[in-house]
């Protein structure tokens, strides 16, 4: 495992949602490569992820991407470079290919749809399938293909297997691990499952009730 320099830094970040403090004075780093944010439900993991591509801004503190405050970046360009795959499937109306092409068009790309589906673990026949006729696992993969269509430098994965059964979870994990070998993108995975963190990431930031519990190499902090 190689930790290749800092990708994201959170500097004394506090964030509230619905009037409740979700992240409190949080400072942490996420390096390039495969990272994860782990913690129990309600610990602020998904809130943290939304700060990384400016789907929200912190109430106080700063989030830096490659050394620069994300608020200095154009949010639209940042989100195409740092692409978030949401926790629950949220595809647009139309076919899987429509979804992939929509995302690619936002980033000004001409997508190779069969390749993108293959990267996400779907065969080419899924291109013409209606998005609302897919299983939850297939929708999750379609969202991954859609995100990959933007050729992002960073993929933010919000609990990508939380709604899946055991077999589907294993399959999605295998796809994500395989993806690391085929695509040159860093990943930040949010999970409540420490075993999944061990399997999927090299670096972990552990949260509990919006505060940092630990951060460092998975081998050291999540040793079995």
């Amino acid at each position: 495992m190689i930790i290749r320099g800092v990708l994201f830094e959170l500097d004394r970040v506090t964030q509230s949602r619905d009037g409740k403090v979700v992240l409190q004075d949080l400072s942490a780093s996420l390096p390039r490569g495969a990272s994860c944010v782990a913690g129990p439900s309600g610990s602020g993991k998904s809130t943290l992820l939304r700060l990384l591509n400016r789907l929200a801004d912190p109430d106080s503190g700063a989030v830096r991407y490659e050394g620069a405050d994300v608020r200095e970046r154009n949010p639209l360009e940042l989100r195409q470079e740092v692409c978030l795959v949401p926790q629950l499937p949220a595809l647009l109306e139309g076919t899987v290919e429509d979804n992939v092409r929509y995302a690619a068009s936002l980033a000004g790309r001409d997508p190779n749809v069969p390749r993108l589906l293959d990267l996400a673990g779907l065969d080419a026949s899924f291109a013409a399938r209606s998005a609302d006729k897919l299983s939850v696992g297939e929708q999750q993969r379609a969202m991954l293909a859609r995100a990959l269509a933007m050729e992002p430098r960073v993929l933010l994965l919000d609990e990508p297997t939380s709604a899946l059964d055991e077999d589907a979870r294993r399959a999605v994990e295998a796809t994500l691990l395989h993806l690391r070998e085929r695509v040159n993108a860093s990943t930040v995975l949010v999970t409540h499952d420490l075993d999944q963190a061990r399997r999927m990431a090299d670096w972990v930031v552990r949260l509990d009730e919006g505060r940092l519990v630990a951060e460092g190499r998975v081998k050291e902090h999540l040793a079995v």
Partner: protein, 259 residues
């Protein structure tokens, strides 16, 4: 009441209270608990219409377009306030509603005068303006009510689209489309069925007043088609201005207010 001209006596009006009595009886019998509301509605409609009757009479006597403009401005302001109460889930809905009603009324009346359909005189502008503002208010209120529900129900899809780097305009486009459609569809449908399933108010009024049915039909068509334009304009302006209030300048979805 005669058949050749409009002359409605107080006794005629009072006689129709029998129908109000039926409404009260139905509500009481089936425990709909609307008796008090029906009473308020009857009193308010009487007071408001009598008052506006005097106001219109005064404006007709003055024969000044400034008074017409003042009356329509008041109607626009009250219309926006009324519509806001229907669009509670839309942040700061008052200003989009006010602008939508004002622009819809100004453009619609400006056009019908410019096209020579109506003369720029109080006796035309006041009733047509009232109809335009009333129908525009309903359309804008329905559209914004739907917009609030759409954003609330589809917040996840909205954020997922924003997460791809879409602008708030791109992300909200399907919701804006459905909301606009929702605001316009009632009038479009009633225009489709007019003459078959119901007779619209203007036509009924003219027929009762003894007008030639052909004239009544022509005037009704003019008003229906004018209203289609004004309702479309009001809905478009209201949703186009209001959807922005759900987003920050950085294309982030704001936290939803409690309805």
């Amino acid at each position: 009441m005669t058949s050749s001209s409009i002359h409605v006596s107080i006794a005629d009006v009072a006689a129709t209270l029998a129908l109000v009595g039926i409404a009260v009886a139905v509500s009481f019998w089936r425990r709909a608990d609307l008796e008090r509301d029906i009473g308020i509605a009857v009193v308010r409609s009487a007071v408001q219409l009598i008052a506006i009757g005097y106001v219109i009479n005064f404006i007709f006597d003055q024969d000044s377009l400034w008074f017409v403009a003042a009356l329509l401005a008041v109607m626009v302001a009250f219309g926006a306030l009324q519509a806001r109460s229907r669009a509670k889930r839309v942040p700061d809905a008052f200003w989009p509603l006010l602008l939508s009603l004002a622009l819809a009324a100004a453009v619609t009346l400006g056009l019908v005068v410019a096209l020579g359909v109506f003369k720029a005189q109080p006796r035309y502008l006041v009733p047509v303006g009232g109809m335009v503002i009333g129908n525009s208010m309903t359309a804008a209120a329905v559209a914004l009510n739907r917009l609030g529900d759409e954003v609330s129900d589809h917040a996840r899809e909205l954020e997922a689209t924003l997460a791809l780097g879409a602008t708030s305009t791109q992300a909200a486009a399907p919701l804006v489309r459905r909301s606009l459609r929702s605001g316009m569809i009632t009038l479009v449908d009633s225009t489709k069925t007019t003459g078959l399933i119901f007779f619209p108010g203007t036509m009924v009024g003219m027929l009762l007043a003894g007008a030639d049915p052909t004239d009544a039909v022509r005037l009704q068509l003019i008003l229906l088609w004018t209203l289609l334009g004004s309702v479309a304009l009001a809905g478009l302006i209201a949703v186009t201005l209001a959807y922005r209030n759900f987003f920050t300048p950085a294309h982030q979805l704001r936290e939803q207010p409690e309805p």
